[in-house]
């Protein structure tokens, strides 16, 4: 009798996901965030608990679990309890459709793909289920019966709903190239056409990632929390395990955004440059490791943003979403559709599009660098050097 039937394997995978993801959040991402930020900010970061601070996650966990779980007296008790649950469950559910790797052999005659389910509407499912998480934040902010929490909840309601739109539209552009919503199929197609979608979808990727950072309430879009303005925003009145749930929800959200970016734009588990012989040693790294390396780079980008950017103001954030990202995303769909239609049956159109986008972005980057240099020079020239030339226009 075989023990490892596909059903059992699926349950096992779910168990591993639910057990591993919080551990990864607590032990790897949070520690990495604090250590990297420490490095960027000329300080140490946590280095006391365990060797080089590696057990800091455990200490945090013990602290959060043993902390008193307070519910404010005038809070809406049931909703106050439900909100953190709503924040974390959809985020964990969304992980089910993310393909971490292709089929792997576990034993003789037992093999399984490294994902829980290959749903044929995977991308749609992902967008749908992650947007439920918004309710957690809105309801948490409202149920706390605290003015600052309410403002945080209101902000997130507007912000998260607005940024879903450009995010969805950015992914639509990719759908035009893949013709499939299944995340596994998206990766396999990138393998077949020997082209990662990030090249023809450079603009789509840019829009997706900006919207993704906003969706997860991270800098420079961390307005629902905005410590210096709203104390702690929607989670002001949460402590202990409930707070830990919000925390887990936020970080799982980051993982999902990174994983989807990798899957849709960066070839998922595929190794880069499969046809360059000099780089064939890259194939030695197993596919799922490639996935984690790529996703890790995105998490690092998140951390990098956090220690670099100031925070947007609420109205500026909305303006950026509706006046810039949305029109850009719509225009991008038209451009990608034209490229797909221009060369039916082949991917030449997409390759051209990749070159065009690539050169456009390179030119823009060079111009921005030049401008930065010039303004810097002007600024330094404007520093008054002596009493006689003190007034600056």
């Amino acid at each position: 009798m075989r023990v490892l039937t596909p059903t059992v394997l699926t349950y096992l995978k779910v168990l591993i996901l639910v057990a591993v993801v919080p551990a990864v959040v607590g032990f790897v991402i949070v520690l990495a965030e604090r250590r990297f930020m420490g490095f960027m900010q000329a300080r140490l970061g946590p280095n006391r608990v365990g060797p080089k601070g590696t057990l800091q996650g455990l200490a945090d966990l013990v602290k959060l679990v043993t902390k008193e779980d307070l519910t404010p007296g005038k809070a809406e008790k049931a909703v106050h309890f439900l909100a953190p649950v709503l924040a974390v469950i959809p985020a964990l559910t969304a992980l089910a459709v993310i393909p971490f790797g292709p089929e792997v052999r576990l034993a003789r005659r037992v093999s399984t793909p490294l994902y829980v389910a290959d749903v044929n509407i995977g991308l749609l499912f992902l967008l749908a289920i992650t947007s439920i998480g918004v309710y957690g934040i809105i309801l948490g902010g409202w149920a706390s019966n605290n003015k600052y929490s309410l403002l945080g909840g209101l902000r997130s309601a507007a912000q998260l709903v607005s940024y879903e739109v450009p995010m969805g539209l950015a992914l639509v552009a990719v759908l035009l190239m893949t013709r499939s919503l299944s995340l596994v199929e998206i990766v396999q197609r990138q393998e077949r056409i020997h082209l990662w979608f990030v090249f023809p979808g450079l603009l789509a990727f840019f829009i997706y990632f900006v919207a993704g950072v906003a969706e997860t309430n991270r800098n420079p879009f961390d307005l629902p929390e905005a410590e210096s303005e709203l104390v702690s925003g929607f989670n002001t009145e949460y402590s202990g395990v409930k707070f830990a749930f919000f925390f887990l929800g936020e970080y799982t959200g980051m993982i999902i955004i990174s994983c989807v970016a990798v899957t849709v734009f960066f070839g998922g588990w595929l190794a880069p440059f499969p046809h360059v012989r000099a780089l064939s040693f890259l194939q030695l790294i197993p596919p799922f490791l490639w996935f984690f390396i790529k996703a890790g780079l995105f998490i690092f980008a998140y951390i990098w943003f956090r220690s670099t950017f100031p925070r947007y103001r609420f109205d500026q954030l909305m303006a950026l979403g509706w006046k810039w990202l949305l029109p850009l995303a719509l225009a991008n769909i038209v451009v990608v559709a034209l490229a797909v239609l221009a060369t039916p049956g082949s991917t030449r159109g997409l390759v051209w599009l990749g070159w065009i986008f690539g050169s456009l972005f390179a030119i823009m980057w060079l111009l921005a660098k030049l401008r930065q240099k010039l303004t810097r020079r002007d600024r330094l020239a404007a520093v008054p050097q002596s009493a006689h030339e003190s007034r600056i226009a």
Binding site: M37, A226, S228, P310
Partner: protein
């Protein structure tokens, strides 16, 4: 029975008196508010209500114990009323109860991120009263301490106002340099914050060996550190979006409010007491007074950052001029000035810091009044905040750079 009735009668009179005073001053008062007006606001299209929000005294970005009573329409500020006094310690009264030299440590606790300039202003006032001549070496060291204090105060401002707008990293850079400055203070006088580093007629101590060399090394390195902060903020699009055009105040309004320091210089007025009424040896030092024209938060930021560069230049020059010599002038053992009233002021990091002293010929001041720049600059906050969003309020509290110890005294 009659007792109680009389009491209520008195209370009624009192309430009527306060209501009359309130209407005269134009302050909304519950007793004089027309009931119809309250009903009207609630019956608009979406039934909009103004929310009253207590911003502080325990709020991460009110920089101490400032409480602002906000009336907000969504996130838009309709009205902001500062409520101060949480840190009131009766410093001015304390001066009256103690001898002149005993007053110096009290000044440390006013603007506690810039103790040296407080000491300086206090000592300068008493010296003016006594007519004491300060030795040149003491003057130069005072200038060095003042400018170091200006640097450290501006660094605290830079770091905290960066955090207020969500930029965390400049805070750590700024505090790294501030720690070094505090190390210099500690080596000089043993304290890091409440320095008590000046005496009437000069200084308590001479510089320790090697202090000058280490300080000049630090000062020569400082401009490149300031470049680091500017790299993170000055040309940053988000930083500009959050600060350009926020809290604009014209030069005329600045003068009407009595605002001083970087605020008035950010509005285009070249007003700096180091130049306008030079004290110690500022007259012979070459430095510029940075000004900007727009009077918004961004310009005040630029002005302060450039002031830091100028402070480094001043310290450099003062260090070069340092010669061995006395550090205290000829001051009587018991300070008993003749009956007179004097006012002396200096350019503190936050603006004009002055003391007004009334002496009656004894060894204690009859009255000591302080002109605290933070208190007077804070007045402009309701005017600046009106119509902006809550997020901007945070930027505005940062940009007027208040220290509550000095506001409340």
């Amino acid at each position: 029975m009659t007792d109680e009735k009389q009491l209520t009668e008195a209370e009624k009179q009192e309430a009527a008196y306060f209501a009359r005073r309130a209407t005269e001053a134009g302050i909304p008062h519950p007793a004089v508010e027309e009931p119809a007006a309250a009903g009207e606001t609630a019956r608009t299209l979406f039934d909009v209500q103004e929310m009253e929000l207590n911003f502080g005294p325990q709020h991460p970005s009110t920089h101490g114990v400032l409480r602002l009573v906000l009336k907000v329409d969504g996130e838009k500020i309709v009205e902001a009323k500062p409520d101060i006094g949480y840190l009131h310690r009766g410093t001015e009264k304390l001066f009256e109860t103690e001898t002149y030299p005993m007053g110096i440590p009290h000044t440390d606790r006013m603007d506690y991120v810039a103790a040296a300039t407080n000491n300086h202003a206090f000592c300068l006032t008493i010296e003016k009263l006594l007519g004491v001549e300060i030795p040149r070496r003491a003057q130069l060291i005072r200038v060095i301490l003042d400018e170091l204090q200006r640097l450290s105060s501006h660094l605290v401002w830079l770091g905290t106002s960066g955090i207020d707008l969500g930029a965390v990293t400049p805070f750590w850079y700024a505090f790294r340099e501030r720690e070094q400055i505090l190390d210099f203070f500690e080596e000089y006088c043993g304290a890091r914050l409440t320095l008590n580093c000046m005496r009437i007629g000069g200084l308590p101590f001479d510089l320790t060996p090697g202090w000058v060399e280490r300080l000049s090394e630090f000062i020569d390195d400082l401009p490149s550190r300031i470049d680091d902060y500017e790299q993170l903020l000055t040309d940053n699009r988000i930083w500009k979006k959050r600060t350009v055009g926020i809290g604009v105040i014209s030069a005329e309004e600045c003068i009407e409010y009595g605002l001083t320091g970087p605020i008035i210089r950010g509005s285009g007025v070249e007003w700096d007491l180091r130049r306008a009424q030079p004290y110690e040896c500022y007259r012979e030092l070459d430095f510029a007074i940075p000004t900007r024209q727009n009077g918004d938060t961004y310009d005040r930021y630029i002005v302060r950052v450039q002031e830091m560069r100028q402070s480094a230049r001043i310290i450099r020059q003062a260090l070069d001029r340092l010669q061995p010599g006395d550090i205290r002038g000829k001051v009587p053992r018991v300070i008993k000035p003749h009956a007179e009233e004097v006012y002396a002021s200096i350019e503190s990091p936050k603006g004009e810091l002055g003391f007004y002293c009334v002496s009656n010929g004894t060894n204690r001041p009859y009255r000591m009044h302080c002109r605290p720049p933070s208190f007077i600059n804070l007045q402009a906050l309701p005017r600046l905040a009106k119509g902006h969003l809550i997020s901007d309020l945070v930027a505005l509290i940062g940009t007027i750079d208040i220290v509550l110890g000095e506001v409340d005294r």
